[in-house]
Symmetry: C2
Subunit: 157 residues, 2 copies
């Protein structure tokens, strides 16, 4: 997919970090990490992955496209649920192996479990390393019924 | 490192997604993805990785520890620069393969290039897929001099 012309070859460290050419560093599976945050609240909605095609489609359309590792296919966010993500801004990090998108999350939520965000459980800090950690729900109310939205469709992700 | 006792074995999908046991899904390299955001501004500061030991140390100490893929070693954030990250809250996502930490970033910044955040370049949207994309600097002023802070030390990451 690099042949679409959007991406420049990887240059020196200085070129990658201080330059203005988009030259993403895909991992050995051909993926970048993508963090999606809510453009108004700053909340992290989800962490997912993009291959070259998903990145290209996101840039071209201004809507979030990912690559589903579990289903091994291109995934237009919201294709099943209708919960599309309109990208307000996309940024890339210093070594160009991760992108951050600020999105307008349409519909009830980003998480296939029915929550607005995938990060609905807190990990307590200060626990001694001698026993299992017990998570605590945070902002975990379901904003939609995943069964009604996804039905028997394969879940995203 | 799973033998520290902090982590429960992976159960069913329902247990992993709806339960309160911390049972992280490390990838084939033994890593989780970690997103660090600024606890006051919501800005994404960096995306990095944690192995079981880094996750354990972060939970125990309330300071961010990562695993450097480039150096293949445990990495206490700020060990070289003094720019520690105090963890205000840690969350884990639905399938427990990513964590989000809200941090108080001490010192001048999180990025080894001298910026507060690693995400100092925007990717323009709507570009046709026929030519290279040109990034645009955003919030890219350097808040510290990386040469003065890191000198000849191996850079983090």
């Amino acid at each position: 997919m690099e042949s679409t012309g959007l991406f420049a070859p990887r240059g020196s460290t200085s070129q990658v970090e201080e330059g203005l050419a988009l030259s993403p560093k895909f991992d050995r599976d051909g993926l970048l990490t993508c963090v999606a945050t809510d453009g108004s609240t700053g909340e992290v909605l989800m962490v997912a992955h993009m291959n070259a095609e998903a990145l290209t489609k996101t840039i071209e359309t201004g809507e979030a496209w990912y690559f589903s590792r579990s289903r091994q296919q291109l995934w237009r966010k919201g294709a099943t649920s209708g919960h599309l993500q309109r990208v307000i801004e996309m940024r890339i990090d210093c070594d160009q192996d991760a992108v951050w998108i600020k999105v307008e999350q349409t519909g009830a939520g980003a998480c296939h479990t029915g929550r607005r965000s995938c990060f609905y459980r807190a990990v307590p800090l200060g626990a001694p390393a001698t026993r299992n950690v017990t998570l605590a729900f945070r902002d975990a109310d379901k904003s939609f019924d995943p069964q009604a939205v996804y039905g028997a469709a394969p879940k995203p992700g």
